[in-house]
Symmetry: C2
Amino acid sequence: MFSSLAEIKQAAVEKIIPDKAAFDAATLRQTLLTKPLGSLGKLEEIAIWLASWQQNGCPKLDNVDTIIFAGNHGVAKHGVSLFPAEVTKQMVTNFKNGGAAINQLCALNGTNLKVIELDLDKPTQDFSIAPAMSEAELIEAINIGASAVSDDADLITLGEMGISNTSSASAIAMALFGGEARHWTGKGTGLDVHSIEKKAEIIRKAVGFHEDFRHDPLEILRRLGGRELAAIFGAVLAARKKHIPVLLDGFICCAAVAPLYMLNQSALSVAMAGHLSMEIGHISLLELIDKPPLLQMDMRLGEGSGAVVALSIVRAAVATHNGMATFDEANVSNIESNKNTEKVNTNRAL
Amino acid sequence: MFSSLAEIKQAAVEKIIPDKAAFDAATLRQTLLTKPLGSLGKLEEIAIWLASWQQNGCPKLDNVDTIIFAGNHGVAKHGVSLFPAEVTKQMVTNFKNGGAAINQLCALNGTNLKVIELDLDKPTQDFSIAPAMSEAELIEAINIGASAVSDDADLITLGEMGISNTSSASAIAMALFGGEARHWTGKGTGLDVHSIEKKAEIIRKAVGFHEDFRHDPLEILRRLGGRELAAIFGAVLAARKKHIPVLLDGFICCAAVAPLYMLNQSALSVAMAGHLSMEIGHISLLELIDKPPLLQMDMRLGEGSGAVVALSIVRAAVATHNGMATFDEANVSNIESNKNTEKVNTNRAL
């Protein structure tokens, strides 16, 4: 449990690296499997990434947690979303009753869904005229996020629910990376062009109000974030400490960890971006935090839905990596250059 | 069973359309589910496409067949692949023993793998100096492909195995769509630049040899194809007749159905392209046959592997479409404009 912002910053900058021996073992294994070298493309990269972080040449996905954090936002009073704020709570009930998209996707992809409500009856302050959270509130939300990460998870996927939280994400992105408000302001749940302009005006005003703090990523998270975004930040902090790989969801989820990237550009190597969302700012944000997305499904739902769809790709990576026969095992003729690669890699792994 | 090329052509041009009532029912259902309208992006399109072809507003994926056709090629004698021709047979044995990538992907994604060998001990003729197949051989291969499609399949995914068959695919694409041989000639299993040039020279020579038949798509399939490509062509013919949706794999699989597209530009509406392969000609080919790919995983393995990875996306589409609660069922507040859409669509469906 973190008790101060200084401790959180220290955790963010701590050097935590994936395991070299597991990386080498997984890389070698990929050269031995019955397929042309490199022919599984990103599946090979994903398997090696998982192996390195799990510190296991044959990574597992037996215990995958999907964690959704839900929060409410003071800025909702400005009508920055098509849906009223009470929908956050209603959707949490829908998650609990199994009726939402994320429930179907978790069941399909074999994950344990955890839904964590953060003071839904107490929205954050309206960030266009005040900091969204106090220091104590920020620390509490980060701790809740960190505590949600079980020691025994093989991988976690993250997501959020919070009416108006694309506004929070847009404001964070603009504050950290600059650019025009309009560049970062999208249609969220489906705003028309006029309403997007109004939303951009709120974001422009908010970033102006907090102008003096733009150099301090954690302060930006406190001032422009929401509880569910802070919890996502905390969950990634905990996951890297525990060497648990992470799949990120869309724009809001990525904005939540952008302050972590600004504190430590290697902190997000424990995570992959599940998909490119249709929300307008996501493509720039992914480029700025250096996370190419696995999928592009034109989704913009949130709830962690894109991350769980992407999990099916990660499962394909692990299934092929662990389950395929080697050339020797299957008596399939390999080509000379592959055989040489084996030798090189074997030497490197020793 | 087809007994002549004329019958095959007739089947190719037959007008077969998806079901309008199922399309309307699925489209309406998407507007009622607890999510912002359109927020599941391609998953919504996929669910509606499946519904239309299965003639069922709530489509099923209980019985999915993955069919791999294997063939050998006379052109292999020119060294157009890194691997020797006997690897085709060895990999078929690997499929049967469960050691290949496709076995792991089928197990993961719940499909029945059928591996169909087409005269592996009798390679096609070297297409650079003769037609690859006789008319009787082409018809037989198309019939084998068509017979492989079970009446009770909810969806099929297609794939192939055949050392040197990227050469066949490149030659078909060049013959049908024009352009330079080098544009269509890729590294296959991993050729270096020098070997790709040699391979392109063979393809250029072959297309020149069969120049007079480039206006006749079925003749191009006979002259430049292989048995496994003809079988894929036959499988899609049968699938559309039976209203069974199809997931196509990479460059070779798409080249096999390109002659069908040339015979009838709506014939491929029963199919989706699973992924964009790294094989150089695939991106142009997909554009020319009007099939945007679902995934881009930098794969180039064949075996139907990209199609089965894409199946996980199709499963996500069906799981959300069939399993989610509606706004009414979940007591979630909907926005007015969604409610209006419901009304419009209800009227249209009646």
